[in-house]
Symmetry: C2
């Protein structure tokens, strides 16, 4: 009985998930201000009424969409950071994760939307606060571990964590806005250089990945 039930019940839930995914997509594409119920419905291939049926209100849909992005963030974070690795390696991963280029640029755009929304909306503010605290905490733990194992030297771990996190945000803004002075393939390096300086670790220890030769503007 439950087998039939659960199988049959999958259709509606599957549909709901599609709408949620569509909401995320629309959010990234048009932002909070430009997202319309009709857009979400079109993207999901259903009617506006169904969106409301499942999420009660547009804001509700967007909020839940944001929540799912948040979950993905935590998942990615937990997945990408091998807790066994040394602090230097972890720092490198953190840099590459945060400065992830490519499709992640859309994610940064979304975080920027959240920032602006957080200026006036309590829920967005709480979300950002949690996300940021978590990220800073990750950085902080990495720094402490590095100091403990003797790889890093750092006078004020908390200040360093705050600065490196803020620097990443700031660089991300430039990249998201495609500032010609901050090409996206430089972002990781720029950040790692600062990290190396802050933590008194040789830069070459942080740049292990092979990268294409200088390739001066082909």
């Amino acid at each position: 009985m439950t087998s039939r039930t659960s199988l049959a019940a999958k259709a509606p839930e599957e549909r709901r998930r599609r709408i949620l995914a569509a909401a995320v997509e629309v959010l990234k594409e048009k932002g909070f201000a430009g997202a319309r119920i009709a857009d979400i419905a079109a993207m999901a291939g259903t009617s506006p009424a169904l969106v409301v049926y499942h999420f009660k209100t547009l804001d509700g849909a967007l909020a839940e969409a944001l929540g799912s992005v948040e979950d993905d963030f935590y998942t990615d974070l937990a997945h990408a950071l091998p807790p066994k690795a040394g602090a230097v390696e972890r720092l490198r991963v953190i840099g590459e994760l945060g400065c992830d280029t490519g499709p992640a640029v859309g994610n940064w755009a979304l975080w920027m939307e959240v920032w602006v929304r957080a200026l006036r909306d309590g829920q967005a503010r709480a979300l950002r606060r949690a996300l940021d605290a978590r990220w800073r905490q990750t950085l902080r733990e990495c720094i402490d571990a590095g100091v403990a194992e003797g790889s890093f030297r750092c006078a004020d771990a908390q200040a360093t964590a705050v600065r490196l996190a803020a620097l990443m945000d700031g660089l991300a803004v430039q990249v998201a806005l495609r500032d010609p002075d901050v090409p996206e393939d430089r972002m990781t390096d720029l950040w790692l250089e600062s990290a190396a300086a802050e933590l008194d670790v040789p830069l070459r220890h942080l740049i292990k990945t092979k990268r294409r030769p200088p390739a001066k503007r082909p």
Copy 2:
């Protein structure tokens, strides 16, 4: 004749200016998404129709409001930076100008709005680009001057300028959002510490202003 004319003509222009100022105010208070013609009119003490009469459209009014803020930015910048001063002094001023606490937090909120708008709007993108280039250029010139006069040491002036500018943006986000981990009265210090490290200059040279004693969490 023109004397009477120009005197009489002042009333309408004065009114227009008031509306413009109101638009700036509303923009800071409600952001692009929340700004309504009615709000601007109310703030200026006139009717919505007059706003449209002077600016044709809401977007036009907001755009011009943004332009006036841009002008103010340039004015402030030129006014606050004595070109005669040494590089260290200039750097300190830059830090205090950019990390200006207090009412300037509202300005940072506005810049954040501009960033998000720039994701999709060409005019906003151009505005931000110009503003940011100018700011980075100011920083860059200060760095070059400091290196030339022997106060700073810096391997890559451009990268340093980009990083310090981005760091300021990132810190400003935290402050604008009132992140408890980045209290606004720490912002200037956090930035100057990074600047001191990047430019290999003793921090105490940058912190000349007297400040209240440590005051460890009262």
